[in-house]
């Protein structure tokens, strides 16, 4: 992904900032500048999520695209945040421990590395809530 495109999303990726619609009360992560429920009458404001959630489903990726080839195998999961929205992220834990329903919390980690440009991405991954 291009550098400006990544930087534009930095605050959202680093701090788990999404959006909240004051009209209908819905929370969105990833952020949306229009509430799909209310559309033009929605009132969308930034919202920082607590970062506590649960694993809805997961996989262990063994064969990755080029930017992630060095990281395999890794756990990819869909996580339901306490506030409601679902997101896709990686979970850092023992591969034998990961399970549907596992409670997790967000953590700041390296996401990946662009092979040609050598750029390193950081962002939010998840770790078991039990770990402190």
């Amino acid at each position: 992904m291009s550098v400006p495109r990544f930087w534009r999303r930095l605050k959202n990726l680093y701090n788990l900032i999404g959006t909240h619609c004051k009209k209908c009360g819905e929370y969105y992560y990833p952020p949306r500048n229009m509430c799909p429920k209310c559309r033009r009458i929605g009132q969308v404001v930034p919202f920082k999520f607590k970062g506590i959630g649960e694993v809805v489903t997961f996989t262990i990726v063994h064969s990755a695209a080029k930017d992630f080839a060095k990281n395999t195998p890794y756990i990819l999961a869909i996580i339901k945040l306490e506030e409601g929205p679902h997101l896709t992220s990686q979970v850092i834990c023992n591969h034998n421990d990961i399970h549907i329903g596992m409670k997790v919390k967000s953590a700041f980690r390296k996401l990946g590395e662009e092979s040609e440009k050598g750029m390193i991405y950081y962002g939010t991954k998840f770790v078991p809530l039990a770990d402190n």
């Binding site: 990833p30 990726v61 064969s63 080029k66 679902h86 992220s89 549907i100």
Partner: protein, 389 residues
Amino acid sequence: MRDVAIIGVGCTEFGELWDKSFRELFVEAGISAIEDANIQGGKIDALYVGNMSGGRFIEQEHIGSLIADYAGLAGLHIPSTRVEAACASGGLALRQGILAVASGYHDIVIAGGAEKMTDVSVEITTDALAAAADREWEGIMGATFPGLYAMIARLHMHKYGTTREQLASVAVKNHHNGTMNPKAQFQNEISIDAVLNSVMVADPLHVFDCSPITDGGSAVVLAPADVARKYTDTPIYLKASAQASGTLSLHDRPDITTLDATVAAANRAYKMAKVTPKDIDFAEVHDCFTIAEICAIEDLGFVKKGEGGKASESGMTAIGGKIPVNPSGGLKACGHPVGATGVKQAVEITLQLRGEAGKRQVSGAEIGLTHNVGGSGGTAVVHIFGRER
């Protein structure tokens, strides 16, 4: 709105075709469709070309012009339009062609698709295909296509007790059908054990759960139903064309194990054709992964949600079963040149309804359905065709 018929079909062989370029693939498929329809090139009013990622796979955009030129139609200034919806590009090109004929804007239309996927490395292909998901919120987290479908599979197994063997039975059946399709990339039988022992791609999906990387092209010739018999004794009539959108990201789906765009497109198509799922004699569905075929037969209403695994294992979807699914061998055995797949499905339905499918012929085929999906379900296209108008 006018009724539409398919009057000719063509398809290249599917596979790793080192000696064939993108433009050659499309032209080869187009010419065989035109010859099948027995029409002159000058009769063609418009071209629609399904192509997902010429920009990534062959570093070529402006695909519409390229194809018109190499099909010998640029001198006649025939309009040519590229259509893109990731892996549903072909199905959508077909639908655009249908809309053009139905509206009365054009009479004879070629709808085709082609993809040349083997000129770049597997990592680049994987990355190009990952562009069908949300790059900013799925791709950047390390999501791959097998990874997304693996998460659907994991939850399906958890919620409905679907087994690894049931997933494998889809691949075994489609490989078996592929042995009877001379155009298929894989024409060999495989066993359940072979699937389970193949390399792990994204747990629980192994490499034999995945459709392969493929080069290929396919095309159909469309005409107004009223004049179709002027061109052929065996026109195949369109009964419904439906398209639906879903969320781009898998994580935003209301139910991760349901492709709700498929449900919506299917319901629209059944309503338009005035049929129910029970009236469908056979179907070509989007089995980019084994779990995708299981979800498809559920979301299309052939079986209840959660029963797709059992149905696949029971032989219900085999040729000779209650509802044969992917008699061509599907994406799994034919291969999946992403822009061509949706059109190839219509080619297979046409051959089956004409009774020209050879060893893999479904007996008593009167009504057939195609189901083409973009990404993890952001786009779904469903067509229903019949032997009778």
